[in-house]
């Protein structure tokens, strides 16, 4: 057992876990943050994507101990109170989800994509960049629309800040 100290969604936490605990297990089973999903458990599907120090990582392919000292943001940590994050709002407005299982990982990956590419985003780039996230419902079309829509909204909201 080890104590893993993290900042999760802005809050400092210290959790005693077995050394074999994965980051996603710490989040879901110890902190009850069940918005982060486990899909394939083989680092293919991206349902478990969270941000570690601002970078999108697959939390099923990291030991909790590797994240010690890091700042983690999960899907639960991106809205401002009742106001959805622009990426969440764009997914809703563009019908970018059906069953919703992949959506938390899609949204966390998509925010990272917009942060890296800013205004340079086009459809081909979004499709290529989403290769680590698998959706079995939508055929991706509305997801891509949502990401492009959100990229515009995020630029506007950044400019307003």
């Amino acid at each position: 057992m080890s104590t893993v100290k993290l900042t999760v969604n802005g809050k400092a936490v210290a959790v005693d876990v077995e050394d074999r605990t994965l980051l996603v297990q710490l989040l879901r089973d110890h902190l009850n943050l069940t918005g982060t999903h486990v899909g394939c458990d083989t680092s293919q599907c991206g349902a478990c994507v969270v941000h570690m120090d601002g970078k999108a990582v697959k939390s099923c392919t990291m030991l909790a101990g590797q994240a010690d000292g890091a700042s983690i943001t999960t899907i639960e940590g991106i809205a401002k109170g009742d106001e959805l994050h622009p990426m969440q709002a764009a997914f809703r407005d563009n019908h970018g989800l059906q069953c919703g299982y992949c959506t938390p990982g899609m949204i966390m990956s998509a925010i990272d994509i917009v942060h890296r590419h800013g205004g340079q985003l086009d459809e081909a780039t979004v499709r290529q960049e989403l290769e680590g996230n698998i959706c079995r419902c939508t055929g991706y079309h509305n997801i891509v629309k949502a990401v492009l829509d959100a990229a515009g909204r995020m630029k506007v909201s950044q400019a307003a800040e």
Partner: protein
Amino acid sequence: MYQTTYHRASSVDEAASLFAKGSDAKFLAGGQTLLPVMKQRLASPSDVIDLGRIKELQGVELSGDLLTIKAATTYYDIMQNPDVKKAIPAISYLTSVLGDPAVRYRGTIGGSIANNDPAADFPAALLALGATVKTNKRSISADDFFKGLFTTALEDGEIITAVSFPVPAKAGYEKMRHPASRFALTGVFVAQTKSGEVRVAATGASQSGVMRVPAIEAALKANWSPSAIDSVTISANGLLADIHGTAEYRANLVKVMAQRAVASAR
């Protein structure tokens, strides 16, 4: 995953001494292979020694005609590095088609070559560019480093610290990506050294892991152009065959990927 004990090393020396104390220890770099393998219970190390935060294993240095990438530098950091883009853009490109964005943030060059997956990308770059693998004990040329499927010249407890690449006159890499795993169904790295030598390495093709392709090297030595490879025949003997492609299909891919790599080389 079976029980294990996690250690975070803060220096290469500390990592080596932690390894020596474990009964069946393994080094962990980015963990993008080791952790999936542990989750499948195909590996059950007593101790996992994390190299990921060792400062001396991070970063890129360009010194004259030698590009040195420290072992725990992530694919993302390699891809974005201005010295890599300037000196060997083919390596920057290789990292951009390796895995997916989340994997690229975590996976490392040292982890890739230590694992020596027969379909991994970096072994082809090292072999084609005539790189040198630096460890905490010695220097090993790429020609001597890769020993076959998941096998390298590394001794038990030996830690890769960096890889040094001689800057080539030209180099290119192209691969047919497996659409789900993003590993190379077959990938070919071509390089022309500043002294005019041509080296070509293929990954994802041979049953014995990454390999040189002498027939294509000879053709390109005579005439550095994609069409020079038209008349080359690659034997399917000893090539991988699986649900994704026959040995004959991969033999053809070696040619086609080599042609594309020459076309994109710079």
